[in-house]
Amino acid sequence: MKYLKTPLVIFVLLVIWQTAVILFKIPEYILPTPVSALEHLFLPQPDADYNWVMHIKATLLEIVLAFAVTSVAGISIAILLAWSDAIRRASMPLFVFINSLPIIAVAPLLLLWSGYGLKTNIIIAFLISFFPVVINTGTGLASIEEELLDLVKYLHGTKLQVFMKLRIPNSLPFIFTGLKICSTMCVVGAIVGEFIASDRGLGYIIINSQYTMDSPPIYAGLMLVSLFGVALFGLVSLAERLCIPWARPAGQEL
């Protein structure tokens, strides 16, 4: 029963959506029915070849690569910042600056510099999603009991040992929180990237169909995108539970 609740809620929402569209005679260009969106996804259409498989593959590849790059780079940046106070003080404002850039406004410039396609997409996804990883990891690395540090100092432990044996293991729960936020933002980043810098992927189908007010494929694309977001979030949560089973209080599930 526990695992049936969520699908049930989703199903009820879809039914409400379907009935509302039919009942209030909402025109399709404003809101298609979920059935029509799903038909565009699963059934061959007489007037279009959406080539979903190719576009899904492109988007999945971007999301996975963007997530990998962002987590590795984000954690590395955080460790570097925690390692040296001087670097942190000098560069933290820069990261805040980058994070506050409205990506939509910068994107055409990125496109001019690094061209069209996967690379630019990943850069855009990185810029959108790296900050929570850096901040969370940084907080984890810093929040360590003074007594433990004193003890290590007393035992003549090196800075490297402090990091490897204390700070990094201690920050794991924080890292996973950062990665979970990053997982959904990477999906957003990949789609934004496709809006701007791609001719394939679900984001491309969505923006292309918006132009012609062809709304069922937009909603079909959005359903898939959200599904990928949920899946990646679930995978990170699963990895968290396997890596640090001690960190989660019993009964709390997310």
Partner: protein
């Protein structure tokens, strides 16, 4: 390394260079997201016309005319599509680019409105709310058109919208008028019933500027004149074919992009209207008329841009197909 090996290497290098010389790679920058008027490039690709001409063409989706100018000027693209006044203004400000061919002969700028709003002529726009994206070509050219029809450019109130939100803005009456190319009519008709949708084409009220044009950089023209000539030869041939075989062209386009074929056939059919001119019938598709080019340059000048040099600095008609593809409609 012995002498024979060196000789073999030199030979191999010469062979590879020879093989590359046979095909020229061309990065081609579109003006915007895929629409029906992009079908000719995919027709040419599908039919192998680019390949036969020794061209390897990479088509890149667009971000607007200004972006095309930047891409072509910086060499990231070799040839691009841009609204004619934009590269003219770009060149006046120092970009090294020229117009080398025309696409739409009649200007497709248009205004859409609900018929019940009482608008029957462009002068009725006075006091109305117009929805148009900030960087849209319509907005850029509105002051020139307003003067032409005897209005003050400030007589209308603009609201900024997302480019893809144009039909919805009109459908939900968020604005009295939406500026959009006439070719967008099939998409407008999804939001406003066809019998209630009013449309006024600017060109019918004397707006004589050029619109979508092919542009190339000075350095590409100087270093690859033959490739440019072949490219224009192929694309105008493809235009000729596309305009006479619209459904086939759209099904080819739909092999490359996730488009709705019915919508795009309607879209391309309205594009065709803007090629049906005596100029294209007599002088061929793509023909650059010096007098109209002057008018277009004057529109840029009226914006307060200082135009240096002579009009001929801004365009070069020497690469158009010879003999031309005369459009028999």
């Amino acid at each position: 390394m012995n002498r024979r090996m060196v000789a073999a290497l030199v030979f191999a290098a010469a062979m590879t260079a020879g093989a590359f010389a046979q095909t020229t790679k061309i990065n081609f920058q579109l003006n915007w997201k895929i629409s029906g008027d992009h079908a000719p490039y995919y027709v040419a690709m599908e039919k192998g016309w680019f390949k036969d001409a020794g061209l390897d063409v990479n088509v890149m989706i667009g971000q607007g005319s200004g972006f095309t100018v930047q891409m072509v000027d910086t060499g990231k693209a070799d040839i691009g599509i841009s609204d004619a006044p934009v590269p003219i203004e770009g060149r006046a400000k120092g970009a090294n680019i020229k117009i080398v061919g025309i696409i739409f002969d009649k200007h497709p700028n248009c205004m859409f409105f609900w018929k019940d709003s009482g608008i029957t002529k462009p002068q009725d726009l006075k006091g109305k709310t117009v929805a148009v994206p900030a960087s849209d070509g319509h907005k850029v050219m509105w002051p020139a058109f307003a003067q032409l029809i005897g209005l003050n450019p400030d007589d209308v109130k603009f609201v900024n919208i997302e480019p893809t939100a144009k039909p919805a803005a009109l459908g939900t009456r968020k604005a009295d008028v939406v500026f959009e190319l006439y070719t967008g009519k099939p998409f407008m008709e999804k939001a406003v019933p066809a019998d209630k949708l009013g449309a006024i084409i600017w060109a019918d009220y004397g707006f004589n500027a050029y619109a979508h044009s092919y542009i190339a950089s000075d350095s590409f023209i100087a270093s690859n004149p033959e490739a440019l000539r072949k490219f224009l030869q192929v694309v105008y041939r493809a235009w000729d074919y596309t305009l006479n075989n619209i459904p086939e062209a759209i099904s080819i386009l739909s092999k490359y992009h996730p488009i709705n074929r019915d919508d795009f056939v309607a879209n391309l059919t309205s594009v065709r209207e803007f090629f049906k001119t005596d100029r294209y019938r007599n002088f061929g598709i793509g023909y650059i008329d010096p007098a109209r080019m002057n008018d277009t340059i004057n529109i840029v000048k009226e914006k307060g841009i200082e135009i240096k040099g002579v009009p001929r600095d801004y365009y070069n008609p020497d690469f158009l197909p010879n003999p031309p593809f005369k459009f028999n409609f």
